[in-house]
Symmetry: C2
Subunit: 338 residues, 2 copies
């Protein structure tokens, strides 16, 4: 075993008895432009194939400055929502001739910073970032250094950056309206976190409640991030038993899952009469005894848009700020109407 010796342009040049420049021309389809002899071109191509030549893309990058690589910072690639995003990123980037490099921040600014640094060191041409709390400084620095960057899933209002995300306010508003329409008294379950997408989902819920004249019945449950399971358990129990709440809207798929585990422990009598809805479904939603409606995001469209934006930045074609908000879709659970 050991490191395979790579076949270089020089090897082909030697084998074909020409210069490396000529090989480069031929292999890059510039034979015409440089009016390379057809015979020669064929010979070069043949040798290249024989030797199984693979262009050394980082040298290429070195030479003309770009690596055709985009760094993607997710909060956790093992989260079903983000692993789906990762997959679509991979596919769409490949279509555009780019490779993506992933990093997970775990919603932690320090980790995010080090991931961004390592990505930059790897020579990425641009970044797609799911910013976490306290990421202002790091993102601000990138923007100042004119690094092509687009935020994804969330934005940082205090910093002028392009972003692609769900119209969170509208999605939460619509979902709340649906829950109210079936005569329920819904609470929103969220985190106490300064993340734009969560805040917008909270606002959407509150506005919907207010517009229905039910401001007084509105309540947002803030799970304790250091003890999700326990805080869910106690907040949910309290809401149901003491405040007659009979519907919940969950702000993220992780929150939904946490609450489902809590409900499971409380038993059928409790959750059977609840109406539930959550962002970003996972298969688990389909098997919970009580049907769960879902707000689904147009992931493919979001990813395409984000890549499109970074790439135009990389090429410096259009440097204006792009703020893209896409609409979510409220999907009634196939589990049946309640």
């Amino acid at each position: 075993m050991g490191v395979f010796k790579k076949v270089s342009l020089k090897d082909i040049a030697k084998a074909a008895g020409v210069s490396t420049a000529l090989v480069s021309f031929v292999l890059n389809g510039k034979s015409a432009r440089y009016r390379v002899n057809e015979e020669t071109a064929k010979r070069v191509l043949k040798k290249a194939r024989e030797l199984d030549y693979r262009p050394h893309s980082s040298s290429k990058g070195l030479r003309y400055g770009l690596s055709k690589t985009i760094g993607v910072v997710l909060s956790d690639i093992a989260n079903p929502f983000f692993s789906q995003v990762a997959r679509v990123m991979e596919n769409e980037a490949a279509k555009l001739g780019y490779t993506v490099l992933f990093g997970s921040s775990d919603e932690n600014a320090g980790l995010m910073n080090s991931v961004v640094n390592s990505l930059m060191n790897k020579g990425v041409d641009g970044l797609v970032i799911v910013p976490c709390e306290h990421a202002e400084e790091a993102i601000g620095g990138l923007v100042q250094n004119r690094v092509p960057v687009v935020l994804f899933d969330r934005s940082i209002p205090s910093i002028p950056t392009s972003y692609v995300m769900l119209n969170n306010h509208a999605a939460a508003y619509a979902a709340t309206k649906r829950l109210l329409a079936v005569g329920k008294k819904p609470y929103l379950v969220a985190y106490d976190i300064r993340l734009n997408h969560i805040e917008e989902r909270i606002r959407g819920y509150q506005d919907a409640m207010a517009n229905a004249g039910k401001s007084k019945q509105a309540r947002v449950l803030y799970l304790d991030r250091s003890d999700l399971q326990m805080s869910a358990q106690s907040l949910l129990t309290e809401s149901i038993e003491e405040e007659e709440c009979d519907a919940f809207l969950f702000a993220t798929n992780k929150i939904t899952l946490t609450c489902l585990y809590a409900f499971k422990r409380m038993g059928h009598e409790v959750f059977d009469r609840l109406k539930l809805a959550g962002f970003d479904a996972t298969p688990a939603f389909d098997f919970f005894p009580t049907p769960i409606d879902r707000i689904s995001q147009p992931v493919e469209q979001m990813v395409k848009k984000a890549l499109e934006i970074v790439i135009t930045y990389i090429h410096q074609e259009d440097v204006s700020l792009k703020k893209v908000m896409l609409e979510g879709k409220y999907v009634e659970s196939p589990g049946g109407a309640r």
Copy 2:
């Protein structure tokens, strides 16, 4: 916006009034070896910090041949099992100073080939591959070219390669024994696919049935990969209604999920009296009305081992073949004994 100009060694050299070589020495902690003047070293370090210098890792790679990058080919990074693997890979590789580049093959040899190629072109030092069906040629080629490679999750017996995977035979054997121990008549649900890990799981099931003197009752259900849902539906129904099968062992988490959807459609009366067990649990398992036992893989250990092996290959320290099989753990569903 636009491409930020990178700060290079030259910039620092100019700013500090020394040669690039000296800067390189200092920044690589070789001041001592080259007995660099302490004052000079400090000045260089200071300038480097001021200019926010980031070494251009691909140039580094160019110079000394290695990129400190490992390519990881999964079948689908959006599959919960593999997204978990991806996350652990990312973390463990970082600890070892490596970056991982992911690619998904979708269990398709053609796609796998192109993913491997693109990874090689990106200059990875080695590869960790989850081989798909018909991957013999591609993997064989890599081995022949002495590319450092280790297979993951499955092996290809006909090709001498290192691998890290579950002891699939033992895991399936043990699971089947457990199902038999509670007086059940279990069937195995699998795909008709020539993948080593699936075949071993099948053998494990069959051997356990044989050893219990129940060869005649053993049956393997092969789902049709072109129509998973329908084939599951009909095979499961038939098994339960006509063959008195009352327990199922699912060969992969995707199969489990497919079957759970099928059961859901059949209704409680059907699945309530079944005993179920599957490889690689996902949260969905926890919410299916009938408890599902699980065979869990030591993912972290597997990933560490795989990385360890490729890296020793990359450094050409130990070129012997490594065949690592780790044991799975049978976990009774917390849903309760049945």
